[in-house]
Amino acid sequence: MDNRPSHHRLVRIRSSRCEPPGQRRLPIREIGGAHVRIGLLTEGGYPYVSGDARLWCDRLVRGLGQHEFDIYALSRTRRQEDEGWIPLPPHVTRVRTAPLWTADDDGAGHGRRARRRFAECYEELAGAVCAGSDDQADRFAGALYGLAELARDEGGLVGALRSETAVRALERACRAPAALRAAREARVPELLTVAALLERALRPLSLDWYEDDGLGSADLCHATAGGPAALSGLLARHFCGVPLLVTEYGVQLRSHYLAAGAAEDAPSVRALLAAFHRRLVGEVYQRAAILTPGNAHARRWQERCGADRARIRTVHPGMEASRFAEVGEAPDRGDPDTLVWVGRVEPAKDLVSLLHAFAEVRRAEPKARLRILGAPAGAEGRAYLGHCRALAAQLFPDEAEGVHAVGDNPVSFEEIGAPEAPTLADAYASGAVVVLSSVVEGFPISLVEAMFCGRATVSTDVGAVVEVIGGTGLVVPPRNPRALAESCVALMRDPERRERLGAAARARALELFTVEQNITAFHSIYLEIVAHCPVRRVVLDDAGEPLPFAAPAEAHIPGRWTGSPARAVARGGPGWASDTPVRGARLATSEGAR
């Protein structure tokens, strides 16, 4: 690693600092203590006003006031950057942002040696991406770090990645004998597209964050998503030895596949990009000290892409429980004949199936009513809502109490905030049973809210529903109105069971899905990481001299006393020595390998 100061002058993607250089604080050296300095890596999220998952990050940062946070944010669009940040708590000591949406070619031309270095690295990278076999992880990682070192030493990576050298290397790799089937069909426009997209994906390599006063000063890096944020963390780990924690509430690779499936790119482009992202994700999962998927579904994807089970801790997202406390603790005031559905109206929620199920419920319980509460999502959602209203009007004629009363439909479509349902908690409280009829679901937030309200629930078996509900509600297969109806009727006729299930659901939600458990889980994971994988730094005294014996000797013992000690190999050692260690000793060796 080249640490000469003269090599740090090149600023590749310019990033902003929130504090002037004079006020920059020196790193805090309480490694392993209760005070941890966390480099929080985000992409298109916190602290931007329009960011994804900013609420979760904000709660995490505010909840862990005893630690220190440095935020490194990658913005996604110019609009996002213009909209500004949300207010930050005082223990956020630094915010550095960098745009990923602009190709900031610094115009630094490479010299002959740098060009050769680039050509070698890119050739390797392209070869690893295009190769049909799956044993290219080492080659890919070597090439990736080679490019990162080149960007750090010489700059000018953005221009180089779009240069003819890169396109030619890609062409050679695609025409190689063992290349992917789809890659062999790549023509010139496809090669150019792939080169441009790879340049986009590799922009974090050009950031000026991986220095001793940047991410190097953090005790651990917490990437709040996969993708570019995790790549930054990976590079910080490579350059500065900072352990990496990756939280994924949605699997980045999966969203990449879904986005690529919708795009109209040529098959060769999609195949090459998919291979690149798969290898990159594999490298991130291999090198991360701990992975925290948000649910079992994300966890399965991570395991599938090569993450070690021993380093995965599922941390469920937390939700604010206090606004449901009143409803959850009060005795059941809900109308025993009312079913409630709450959520955003969109086709994936399968309200049609819910209406058909309700038709069957009405046959068994003629007094039953259904309240559908929620706003439509987008134009498609509005069209779907109209369709559902029409269907409800067809299935259920308006009915009245007597001959002189004005009639009403047993199915009502309302929005939260209307007089009948002023708050979300009131909406849940108004019914006996909360129903979820989705055919596609990620983490079912409305189900968790119903659980907080102590409601009995009937839901379809999709996404993380079974994992969330445990045994505290009824689960039926999706697209099965009859089963849904039978379960609803069973619950409507049995108030005691409803009460039991509701209480159990509330207890389960309070145990698993509160903000506090989320923050506590991350707190203990932070401490675990700094205890297990401390950053090796030379500690300086007041005069700036290295302080001998500042770190106790036992902190340097790589791995376990009794483990396989031969696996502790310095970086740059032979590749076979650090590859595929024995399970169980893996965590230790990955630290020792630095």
Binding site: G107, A166, A182, L192, A196, R254, R270, R278, V440
Partner: protein, 439 residues
Amino acid sequence: MTGLGELDPPGTPGSTGAWDTRSEEWLAGDGDADLADETESPRDPGVPAEADAAARTSPAADPEDGKDRRPAARRGAADPVKSLMHRHRELCERAVDPLEIAAGLEAHGVTDRTAARFRHRDVFSLAEEMYARVPRDAEPRPRPTPAAAPRARADWALLALLPGVLCAATVAGLHLTHGRTRFFVAAGGVLAVSIGVRAAFRRGPLAVPPGTHAWRSTAHTRAWTWWLLAYALLGDGLLGAVLAGGPDDLPNGTTDGPWPLTAAPVLALTLACAPAAWSAHLFAAYARRRLAASRGLEEFSAAVQPLLLGTFALFLCALAALAALSGTALDEPALYPETLALGALLLLARLLTVHHQPHTAFLALAAAAGAEALAPGLVLIGHLPGCSFLAVAVQTLVDHWGAGGVPTLACAAAALTLLWHATRALSRASAHAPTGEQT
């Protein structure tokens, strides 16, 4: 059902064809109707005969069992994965890797529990089977339609005429006015032409793509360009005056004063903005078409090089014609070598700037401008005692080729260098890559 899973384990088929034939027969036939046929059909070597029989007589696979409410049974599919593939056939055909199918299936609500119905452990292994079973016949995929080549548009085509028109108006104004008015006309004309040139290069084939590095570095390039044009207008007169011991007076806007103007080359060059835009458009459009049609980078380069030379020659012809025209109109000598050399240099520099090579263009322009500035400078220094040897080279050049020899030589050398560079740089595919900028 017990033991069925062990008998007929899901797995990647040994041969796609055999599986497909068999499952198609199962789909087409109605249960036991084609039992005899079934025994004759090619059989997957990995599946024993008993397993097949068991699979067909199992309740899940039996289409006769009309009372069973399970959809798979109701639809009579003996091979549930086959019908799943049929339902998601677009996904399967598009998928480049099993994980893409897995992601797509999950987006359609398939979970591990669903996958268990297809006798798979999870969605991933189900997706793997589906990926392996997608028929990949030799039928080539339809080529994606190439991105539409840039079309000629009225806005830039008209704007490209603007500098020439403004320059002609200015020259006419200079001829019609005298004294102070002429000075104001000249100043206004220069301003108008510079605005016109900027407007002409703001859009169309000669516009620099926004957001690139080139976009910021063009300020220097623009300064040198104006210097070169100014020399074409005033330089010959200046050099003559300096050699004669002057200049004694500022230029008065005529061709016969002590510091005469040479307006014909400048008029020809501003008029040539239109042919320059058209030749750049031709080059870009044809290169884009070649790009979509080329299989390899070498093929593309070989096709684009003659194209570049062709459009360049076309532009030179147009420029020569314009030079003759403006010479006749202004009743001045046409000064072909000067005009052609400078025009060639400016076109090549602009093409390189547009195609992501601004640095080289800047260097060539700066070198030519520097050489032109050096000539009168050397002569002036040569007036100093003891330095007369410095002016000898310039004097000799002017004696042989006239005052126009200096800019001709400087621009021609720079243009030739650029031409040599451009034939390599502009025939690369990366020079024609679309800039996918987001804002």
